[in-house]
């Protein structure tokens, strides 16, 4: 059963990619397909992060979902990594000097890079072996970074759009706040019993 949930979660990762392929084949990706793909990957990295954070509150009713959490987190990392790779290759041509200027000068790039740098240790320590090595409390502490990552990702999104398009990043940030609020409420309930 565990295996199936995990497999299903990985398959979920193929859904946006499949949709991208269908759209490309049937309707095309518009006049600026590179920009479209880079933004598409960024959008889905953030969406998988939010989906991943939905798992914990759902465990009360659907405990079998637990293994999906790690997979969804890794999917977020995979989409974020492809988002950045395409940006590096097709927007900055792997020109490190230009890239460094971008990171220092453009705040939304600075924030985006920071988000990715914080995602790396979470992806690396996602294995059972790393949970053991860090000890569960230590591992958990490290992985609380995910909240900072989530809010900074929304900020990165909001900073790059034109000012009339704040609705989508604000929606994600609001969603994230609700999920965070649920964690605090859950803690209040559980703590006295511990």
């Amino acid at each position: 059963m565990t295996v199936n949930v995990r497999k299903a979660a990985w398959l979920l990762g193929l859904v946006p990619l499949g949709w991208l392929a269908v759209k490309a084949g049937l309707w095309g990706l518009g006049a600026n397909p590179i920009e479209f793909i880079i933004r598409f990957l960024g959008d889905w990295a953030l969406r998988f992060l939010l989906l991943c954070l939905c798992v914990t509150p759902l465990l009360r009713w659907l405990p079998r979902l637990a293994p999906a959490r790690r997979t969804l987190g890794l999917l977020c990392f995979c989409f974020a990594a492809s988002h950045i790779l395409l940006y590096l290759g097709l927007e900055r041509f792997f020109d490190l000097e230009e890239l460094w200027k971008d990171i220092v000068k453009r705040r939304y790039i600075t924030v985006g890079m920071l988000v990715f740098l914080m995602l790396v240790p979470l992806a690396v320590t996602s294995t059972n072996r790393w949970v053991k090595r860090l000890g569960f409390p230590g591992w958990k502490k490290l992985h609380r970074l995910v909240w900072l990552i989530g809010f900074l990702a929304c900020l990165h999104f909001a900073m790059m759009v034109k000012f009339y398009a704040y609705a989508e990043p604000l929606f994600y940030a609001g969603f994230l706040l609700v999920l965070l609020g649920m964690r605090f409420r859950a803690k209040d309930r559980i703590m006295p019993g511990h």
Binding site: G30, A31, N32, I34, E35, L90, F163, Y164
Partner: protein, 296 residues
């Protein structure tokens, strides 16, 4: 040569009759004019033209929606008739002209220009139009006319994007008088051998090829000759990001992104952006002695 893009549907199948009658007349007229050839000639350009489909489906025209695709999707709601253009302000002979009369009043030419968007993408578009100077001269600007202000149509029934309260509608732009009188500055009424589609600023728009695209105001209804530098829409909303001059300049970055390179629509890798969008030879002398970093 002009009707390059044959379609399976005729214009009559999708367009109101009054419009396609106009179009027919327009094409008839256009065919009678000896257009400058697409390559070579005074305003020719030896660069591949952007696919018509891309130039008419990837647009910034907030009046018809906020995404790049929305203007083309909503263009059917925008009927560019009836239409009049008012020319006034510091002129001896202010005039108000119906679009039909305007289309007949000037010799139309094809001009293939680069279009460089401030968002770091670019296209090569064959416009059809006439020099703005031809129209301005008719109104006889007075010596007090130092700038030209342009105003777009303000009608949220036809341009539903104007219901968005975040913007100070209507869209406004401006040029210095010498920029407005420059032979490269065009009032376009068509592109790709056809009338301007709604999403590209029907029925008449400005094209200033050495400036970022937002200077080339769409769907113009008023042109005013004025003494002081007019307020522009983006300039008043985000003065730090969009200056009055907004000449294409790879050496001056937009605060949020580099202007050194651009993605030519249809290409994968970016290419270098040229000073004044490649028109330095024709226009740079107008800015001699000006600091283009402060006058961005």
């Amino acid at each position: 040569m002009l009707i390059q893009n044959r379609r399976e549907l005729s214009a009559a199948d999708v367009t109101p009759k009054s419009l396609w009658l106009d179009r027919r007349r327009f094409l008839g007229m256009a065919a009678g004019v000896a257009f400058a050839p697409a390559a070579g000639g005074r305003f020719g350009l030896n660069e591949a033209q952007t696919a018509r489909k891309d130039a008419t489906s990837y647009n910034n025209f907030l009046e018809l929606g906020e995404s790049k695709e929305a203007p083309a999707e909503n263009a059917h709601r925008f009927n560019p008739r009836p239409w009049t253009v008012k020319l006034g302000g510091e002129t001896a002979k202010p005039l108000t002209q119906d679009i039909e009369a305007l289309l007949k009043a000037f010799a139309l030419e094809e001009r293939v220009y680069r279009l460089r968007c401030v968002e770091a993408w670019s296209m090569v578009i064959p416009w059809i139009g006439f020099p703005l100077a031809d129209l301005l001269k008719k109104a006889e600007p007075t010596s007090r006319a130092k700038f030209v202000e342009f105003v777009s149509l303000h009608d949220s029934a036809r341009l539903p994007g104007q219901r968005n309260p975040l913007y100070p509608w209507p869209y406004r732009e401006g040029l210095r008088i010498d920029e407005a009188m420059h032979p490269l500055t065009l009032l376009a009424v068509g592109m790709y051998g056809d009338l301007l589609p709604g999403q590209n600023g029907a029925p008449i728009r400005l094209v200033v090829p050495w400036k970022y695209g937002f200077k080339s105001i769409k769907s113009v209804v008023a042109i005013n000759l004025v003494e002081t530098q007019p307020k522009t829409t983006w300039g008043s909303m985000q003065p730090g990001e969009y200056g009055f001059y907004s000449n294409v300049n790879p050496a001056v970055d937009h605060p949020r992104w580099s202007q050194k390179k651009e993605r030519r629509i249809g290409e994968i890798l970016k290419r270098d952006t040229l000073p004044f969008n490649g028109y330095a030879e024709q226009v740079a002398q107008m800015y001699a002695g000006m600091d283009l970093r402060t006058n961005y």
